[in-house]
Amino acid sequence: MATAVETLAPPATQSGIWSWITTIDHKRIGALYAITGFIFFLVGGVEALLIRAQLAVPNGDVIDPELFNQLFGVHALTMIFLAVMPMGAGFFNYMIPLMIGARDVAFPRLNALSYWIFLGGALLLTSSFIFGGAPDAGWFAYAPLTSEQFSPGRNMDFYVLGILMLGVSSMAAALNFAVTIINMRAPGMSLLRMPVFVWMTLIISALLILALPPLTVALLQLLFDRHYETSFLSPGGGGDPLLWQHLFWVFGHPEVYILILPAMGIVSETLPVFSRKPLFGYSAIVFSGMAIAFLGWAVWSHHMYTTGLGPVQKSIFAGTTMTIGVPTGIKIFNWLATMYGGSIRFTTSMYFAVAFIALFTIGGISGVMHASPPIDTQQQDTYWIVAHIHYVLVGGALMGIFSGIYYWFPKMTGRFLGEGLGQVHFWLMFIGINLTFFPMHFLGTAGMPRRIYTYDSGMGWDFWNMVATIGALVIGVSLLVFIANFFRAMGQKPTAPNNPWDAATLEWATTSPPPEHDFDLIPIVRGRDPLWFDRDHGHAPAAAPDSAVHIHLPPPSYYPMMMAVGVLLLAVGPMTHLVLTAFGAVVIAYSVWGWALEPTD
């Protein structure tokens, strides 16, 4: 009997742009997320370079103050919402179904909808530069700076509506992945056999699902304040600007864990593989992740020590903030113990993972420092804080993401990123990060405030600002090396075997790149590191079926894309004309109806 495996997807959908628009394949959506995220990462990087160019020398005049304010606001929004989160989402989409041994996510069309709404929100937010000015009040957009009185232009409208759209997209994605992970695991994969990356994704999904609503409420209040005459946030009308800060940080603090937990999950995959040793303290790492997610809800006011909280409140939030360092520390020691005694292979992915631990620890330590209210009062709004967040987000989240890119690239494309260029990329980036962000500690302690567009000579800030700008350029060059590496790899023939790194998780059990239906046979999980367990206990890989298997894949659909267009129209309405909102609602209603009646078999 033949061992052919047939898929019943309509043939017209295999290639061409229409196939990407209508795709509901989690791997294609993952690739779309990752590529879009990387493009926006470059956009955010150019914004950062402009900022650094302006600050390189005292009294710089590269850009004017208005543009500077827009750039630092949009740089943060771009990096957080349009680069790091989508690149993480790219990995979720591509890897989660493969890692839990499923053929797709629980709701493939909802997954496509998440991506298209994300793209709409991202374009809306970024288009603000063309249509009259980008958000210029920082990513936290403190009231009352954002009220109509102080921000009469369209800038903050783009912020409100763009972030609302991105929130809807994240919510849909998080619901989808929570259900997928809870319900779609392969036989034998109990919760405590799931790879740590899957665990972290589940935790991130829970955080998004629960933390986005308070942000949504805050954004709606801002929207109503600006357009419908309420005054929730403006003190002139009896409102309270601190309400915005509280609601924003109720979301904002879980959000920083949403940014860092994917990286923690990725290095928890790559460190054991390249140390040829199972992860040390698996349960401790999983439960630390849960503890971080839980405590992450009880620390938000540490962003607000200088707003006049009482001593009791400050003490409580200082205590919880210091406590949250404990599970983080547990993870760091477990990663170190994983490497200890292992036979380490220093691949580029491993370099990035080790650098993640080192740089994230520096960022973590400066974080614990400003858990203390008196110290924080000194550091608040200085470059010290900028140094801290960049060590955590660039040295942490981004290093983790690059570790994942080098690790999973063969699985996604069937090709290897070059190790030689990879090493150049790593060392340039590692040096660049430290050159850029370490001096910011000195600038912060020397009193340089955040968000100033220029400064006078003689403050003692000149030298380190120049160093930071040079470091930023080095990071920029390292990314060019990475891009060159990417295109060089894509030009080669796919040669990657199923499991080039001798890794332990299920995504390596299928071909590189995986077929559209992921697995010919749904794998059976017998241990925590399934492929290593089977190898060591003499279980042969499941044989291909000896008769033709019809794996029925759901057909592609254009309704997700259509609905996302409706959501975009809905969002543009309040800024332009409410007719657009009504039209958007009609488009959404039509696509919901079509979506519901569309056959999925």
Binding site: F107, I182, N183, D240
Partner: protein
């Protein structure tokens, strides 16, 4: 012949239907949404300075400066430069709408019962009843909002107006979405194929949403209307 089934019909890890799990997680998220709106309402309730007030209050003349005529009419001088302002909430009327929404939950659960037991006429009848009760609730809300507007309460009158209309308005939006949801199911059930073999599931999902909206109102009615200042 091995026949692998389509993605959405695999037996699941927990034995629960994916879509039902999605609904419950989504409702969990909604708890945070209404929690944040309610927190805003309660935060401002503590510091209301100018009328209209939710319940009766005595204020001095300073509180009436710059207040709209309609809101001022509710405040009567009681001498000594003090004014007694009548509260704007009309608990008896809202009790009626609360009763209407509560009854809609009963009719909804009967529709679910009909759908799950293949009694399609019963399902359609009770779906229609639920929709009508939902519309009645919205009618009460339109009446209430109009009355409050005439008495000087609007989005810009004071923090009570802003947070009250935002909170109950978003609840009303949820009810309206629910009416449309039920209406589209009712419409679809008259097609030749009806709601298909999963009619029970579809109506149960709509029921989860509808009951949740009712449960939110149980909380809002108690906190907003029944608990005095």
């Amino acid at each position: 012949m091995a026949q692998a089934s389509a993605v959405e019909h695999h037996p699941t890890s927990t034995g629960t239907d994916n879509r039902k799990l999605l609904w419950w997680i989504f409702l969990g998220s909604e708890c945070l949404f209404f929690g944040s709106l309610l927190a805003t309402y309660l935060i401002f309730k503590g510091s209301l300075a100018i009328p209209p007030f939710p319940t009766d209050r005595i204020v001095d003349a300073a509180a009436l400066v710059g207040v709209s005529d309609a809101a001022r009419e509710a405040c009567h001088s009681i001498g000594n430069n003090l004014f007694e302002c009548e509260g704007i909430l009309d608990v008896p009327v809202t009790s009626q709408s609360t009763f209407v929404l509560l009854m809609s939950s009963v009719t909804m659960v009967l529709a679910v019962y009909g759908a799950q037991n293949n009694r399609l006429k019963m399902m359609k009848l009770w779906l229609l009843a639920t929709m009508l009760l939902g519309l009645a609730f919205l009618g009460y809300q339109v009446f209430e909002f109009t009355t409050f507007g005439n008495e000087g309460l609007n989005l810009s009158s004071n923090q009570f107006g802003a947070s009250f209309f935002m909170l109950t308005g978003f609840h009303g939006t949820h009810v309206a979405v629910g009416v449309l949801y039920l209406g589209s199911l009712l419409f679809a059930s008259f097609r030749r194929s009806g709601l298909g073999p999963e009619a029970g599931f579809h109506i149960e999902s709509a029921g989860l949403y509808w009951h949740f909206v009712d449960v939110v109102w149980i909380v809002l009615f108690t906190v907003l209307y029944l608990i005095p200042a």
